[in-house]
C-alpha cells in the first residue's frame, strides 16, 4: 500500500507536541483530526459495524456448512437467514473441472498446479534467463499431455469435456504467450517507416480496440466456420483462443509502443553506428529497454486480460465462470447462486490480486534504480 500519510493533502494542522499514549496520538491524528472528521469516522464506523455484523451473521453464524450429499433441505430452511456454503463442497469439483471425467480429475488439478508453479517461477527476477523459455515450453507440453492424455497410459479426453479453472488458465496463458510476440511485431510495425506495414498495423490495432470483445468472440464462434474451407472444422475452444490472442495482441501492442517511444534516440543511433541489422538492433538494444519501461502497465494489461477471458461464457465455453453458472442450474441448489459466485470471485480475486501486488513490487524496484 502506498504511504497515504505523506499525500500532499489538505493543510495539516500545525504539529502538535508529541505527548501522551501513542495509540491515542495515532487515533487523534488519523481519525479525529477535526470535528467533521470525527463525525465522519463515527458514521463510517457505525456503517462498517452494521455491515460486518450482518455479514458475519449471514455468512458464519447462520450459515449451513455441510449437508448430506445432494440434500439441500437444511439450506432451504436457512434461506434468507444464512449462507449455504454447503453448496461449495457439493459442487466444487464441477466448478473447478467441469465435465472432465470424474476419476481423471487429478490430471487437470495437476495442470493447474503446474500453471501456478510456472507463474510463480516467472515472477522471480533471478530466473529471467533463456532457460525460463525452455521451462515454459516444457511445462506447456506437459500440461497438454495431462489434459489430452492418449499417451503414457493416460486415457484420451477430448477438448469438449474440458472445463473450469484449467480452461480459464489455458485461455489466459496461451493468449498471452502468443499475444505478446504478436503485440511486439505490431508495435514495431506501427513505428516502422514502411507505409504499407504501418497502415496495416494501425488498422489492426484500431479495429480490434474499437469493438467489444464480445463481438470478436461472436465472430470467432459464428463466422470462423464460414471462413474455412468446407470440411475443415476447428474446435470451439481453439476458435475462442484465436480471438483472445488477436485481442491480446492489439492491446499489448499499444503498451509496448509506449515503451518503444520511451527509449532514447541515442540508443537507436548507437545501434546503427555499430552496424546492427534492424532485427538485431531491436532484439539486443531497443526491446529489452522498452519492455522494462512498461512492466507495470504490462502487468495491468495481463490482469485485465485474465478477467476478460471470462467472457467466453457468452459463446458457451466452459471456463470457470461458465461452470459456476452451470452448477447452479441444478434445481435443488438453484437458490444459492450468490454463494457460488462469491466462491468463484474469490478464486479470480486471488489470481488478480497476486498479480497487482507483484506489479506494485516491480514498480517499486524499478523506480529505485
Amino acid at each position: 500500500m502506498t504511504a497515504i500519510t505523506d499525500m500532499p493533502d489538505a493543510p495539516r494542522a500545525a504539529r502538535r507536541p508529541q505527548i501522551g499514549n501513542p495509540v491515542l496520538r495515532w487515533l487523534r491524528k488519523n481519525l479525529f483530526s477535526s470535528i467533521p472528521n470525527g463525525i465522519l469516522t463515527i458514521v463510517l464506523l457505525a456503517i462498517l459495524a452494521k455491515g460486518i455484523f450482518s455479514f458475519l451473521q449471514w455468512g458464519i453464524a447462520n450459515a449451513v456448512w455441510l449437508t448430506p450429499a445432494n440434500d439441500s433441505s437444511a439450506c432451504k430452511a436457512a434461506r434468507g437467514l444464512g449462507a449455504c456454503w454447503a453448496i461449495i463442497p457439493e459442487k466444487y469439483r464441477f466448478i473447478l473441472f467441469g465435465t472432465y471425467p470424474f476419476d481423471e480429475q487429478w490430471r487437470p488439478a495437476l495442470a493447474v498446479l503446474l500453471f501456478i508453479a510456472l507463474y510463480y517461477l516467472s515472477t522471480r527476477r533471478a530466473l529471467w534467463r533463456r532457460e525460463l523459455v525452455y521451462l515454459w515450453i516444457g511445462a506447456l507440453a506437459l500440461i497438454s499431455v495431462l489434459m489430452w492424455g492418449g499417451v503414457f497410459g493416460l486415457s484420451f479426453v477430448s477438448q469438449d469435456r474440458w472445463g473450469g479453472l484449467p480452461v480459464t488458465l489455458i485461455l489466459a496463458t496461451f493468449g498471452l504467450a502468443f499475444g505478446f510476440p504478436l503485440g511486439i511485431l505490431v508495435a514495431l510495425g506501427r513505428r516502422s517507416k514502411l507505409p504499407a506495414i504501418r497502415s496495416l498495423s494501425v488498422l489492426y490495432v484500431e479495429l480490434i480496440r474499437g469493438v467489444p470483445l464480445v463481438s470478436l468472440l461472436f465472430m470467432a464462434s459464428v463466422m470462423f466456420p464460414l471462413f474455412m474451407p468446407s470440411g475443415f472444422n476447428i474446435d470451439k475452444l481453439l476458435r475462442a483462443q484465436i480471438a483472445i490472442i488477436l485481442f491480446a495482441g492489439a492491446y499489448l501492442a499499444e503498451v509496448i509502443r509506449g515503451g518503444l517511444q520511451a527509449v532514447p534516440r541515442g540508443q537507436y543511433e548507437a545501434a546503427d553506428a555499430l552496424g546492427l541489422s534492424y532485427w538485431r538492433k531491436h532484439r539486443l538494444i531497443v526491446l529489452p529497454q522498452a519492455i522494462r519501461h512498461v512492466i507495470p502497465p504490462l502487468v495491468n494489461t495481463f490482469i485485465a486480460f485474465f478477467k476478460d477471458t471470462s467472457l467466453v461464457l457468452i459463446i458457451g465455453i466452459f471456463d470457470l465462470l461458465t461452470t459456476a453458472k452451470t452448477a447452479i442450474i441444478d434445481p435443488a441448489w438453484q437458490q444459492f447462486s450468490v454463494e457460488v459466485y462469491i466462491f468463484v470471485a474469490a478464486i479470480y480475486f486471488v489470481f488478480c490480486f497476486a498479480m497487482s501486488r507483484y506489479s506494485r513490487s516491480l514498480e517499486a524496484s524499478t523506480a529505485s534504480r
Binding site: 489538505a10 465462470l321 450468490v338 459466485y341
Partner: protein, 394 residues
C-alpha cells in the same frame, strides 16, 4: 508515429534504389501480399460456404419484419417492426446505459478517488478496499451477481420501500416520475437555450474582467436565463409539473418510471466496476499536482473549496482526462455484456438477428460499425476537451 530516427542518406549505387529501400520494398510487398492472400482465401471460402448454405448476402433483411420481442426500450417498438428499427432500438438502449453509466461512474469514481486521499484513515482505507476488490473480479461475474441479487428481491406485492414512492422489487426499481411530453419539452428547450446564452455572456464577462480587472458578477444573468426564462415559458404555456407516484395495483405497478432488473443490474455493475478505475485515475491525477502548489495556495490563505476548484483541479485534469477517455470507451464497450443477462442492447439485438436470419457477416459488421462510431465520437469529444485544458507551453 513517423520514422524512428533519421538514417544517413543511402549511397546511390547502380540502381536508383539503395539497399535499404530495396529491403523495405521487399518486406512491404511480402507483408501486403500475405495479408491480401489470407483475406482472399477467407473471402473465397466464405462465398462458397454462403452459397452452399443458401444465405444471400446484403442488408436487404433489414427491411423484413423482426418478430423479436424487446422488453425494455426507450423507443416505441413492437415485434412487427423491421430489423432496422430493432437495431435502432438496440442502439438507443446501448446509449441509454452508456451515457447514464458514464455520468454516474464519473461522480462515484471521483468521490472514491478523493476519499482515498482523505486525511481520515478509515475513509481512505475503505476506499482502497473498494477499489482493490472491484478491480480484481471480472465484470461479467459482478454483473451476474447483481442480476441474481435483483431476482432474489421480494415480489412486487412485498416490495421494499426505502423512501416513499420508491419501490425495489424483482420487477426492478420503480421511481416517481414527471410525465414527459411536448409541453415539458418546450420548457426544457428554453432552459437549454438559456444555458447556451448564459455561457456566451459569461465568456464575455470574463474577457472584460481580464482587460480591466474589475470583477463582474455573472449570477444575475444565470438567474434570468436559466431559472426565470424556463419558468416564464412554463407559466405562459401552462405546463403542469405534477409528479406521478407509482402505485401497486394487483400484481404490478402503475405509473412512475420503471428501471427493469436487467437494466438496473447492468447499470450498477458497469458503474461500480468502472468507478474503481476512475478512482485510481483521479487519485493519481491529484497526486501529480506538485506539493508546492498546495503549500502556495495555503500560504495565500485560500479557502479549501476555492483552492481545489481553481488551482488543484485544473492541473490535475491534464493528467486525468486522457486515461479517463479510455475508461469511458471501456464502459461503453463493456455494456455489450448485457447479452449475458438479456438486456437488449445493440449486441443482443444483433445476436438474435444473427440466429434468426443467419446473416452473420452483416450483423457483426453492424455491431462493429456502431461501436467504432461511438468510440470515435467519444475520443473526438475527449480530445477536443483535452486540447482545451492542456497546458499551453511557451
Amino acid at each position: 508515429m513517423t520514422a524512428d530516427h533519421p538514417r544517413p542518406p543511402p549511397r546511390r549505387r547502380f540502381f536508383a534504389l539503395g539497399r535499404n529501400e530495396l529491403k523495405g520494398l521487399f518486406w512491404q510487398v511480402l507483408v501486403v501480399g500475405i495479408a491480401v492472400g489470407v483475406i482472399a482465401f477467407l473471402w473465397s471460402n466464405t462465398v462458397t460456404n454462403l452459397s452452399a448454405r443458401r444465405i444471400t448476402t446484403g442488408f436487404a433483411f433489414l427491411g423484413r419484419e423482426a418478430g423479436m420481442p424487446i422488453a425494455d426500450s426507450l423507443l416505441a417498438y413492437n415485434p412487427r417492426d423491421t430489423y432496422l428499427w430493432a437495431f435502432v432500438v438496440g442502439i438507443a438502449n446501448t446509449l441509454r446505459v452508456a451515457v447514464i453509466g458514464i455520468v454516474l461512474a464519473t461522480v462515484l469514481g471521483t468521490l472514491i478517488g478523493v476519499s482515498r486521499l482523505s486525511a481520515n484513515w478509515l475513509l481512505s482505507r475503505l476506499a482502497a478496499v473498494y477499489v482493490e476488490t472491484l478491480r480484481d473480479i471480472p465484470l461479467l461475474l459482478q454483473l451476474l451477481f447483481w442480476y441474481v441479487l435483483m431476482q432474489a428481491l421480494p415480489a412486487a406485492r412485498a416490495a421494499w420501500r426505502p423512501v416513499e414512492g420508491v419501490f425495489l422489487s424483482n420487477r426492478g426499481l420503480i421511481l416517481p416520475a414527471i410525465p414527459f411530453g411536448p409541453p415539458q419539452l418546450w420548457v426544457l428547450g428554453a432552459a437549454v437555450l438559456g444555458l447556451a446564452v448564459f455561457y456566451i455572456i459569461r465568456r464575455r464577462l470574463i474577457a472584460q474582467q481580464m482587460r480591466d480587472g474589475k470583477p463582474r458578477p455573472a449570477w444575475p444573468f444565470a438567474l434570468g436565463l436559466i431559472v426565470a426564462l424556463p419558468a416564464a415559458v412554463s407559466l405562459v404555456l401552462g405546463v403542469s409539473w405534477t409528479i406521478e407516484w407509482p402505485q401497486l395495483r394487483g400484481f404490478n405497478f402503475v405509473g412512475g418510471l420503471t428501471l427493469a432488473p436487467e437494466y438496473f443490474a447492468l447499470l450498477i455493475a458497469l458503474v461500480t466496476y468502472t468507478s474503481a478505475f476512475i478512482a485510481e485515475i483521479v487519485r493519481s491525477g491529484i497526486q501529480s499536482v506538485p506539493r508546492g502548489q498546495w503549500d502556495a495556495a495555503n500560504a495565500l490563505g485560500l479557502r479549501r473549496s476555492f483552492m481545489l476548484r481553481q488551482i488543484i483541479l485544473p492541473q490535475a485534469l491534464r493528467v486525468i482526462v486522457p486515461p479517463m477517455t479510455s475508461q469511458y470507451l471501456n464502459l461503453t464497450k463493456n455494456s455489450s455484456l448485457a447479452v449475458a443477462i438479456g438486456y437488449q442492447d445493440v449486441v443482443s439485438v444483433a445476436n438474435t438477428t444473427l440466429n434468426q436470419t443467419g446473416q452473420a457477416i452483416e450483423a457483426i459488421a453492424l455491431i462493429m460499425a456502431v461501436f467504432l462510431t461511438i468510440s470515435l465520437s467519444i475520443s473526438f469529444f475527449m480530445n477536443w476537451y483535452n486540447a482545451r485544458i492542456a497546458l499551453v507551453e511557451r
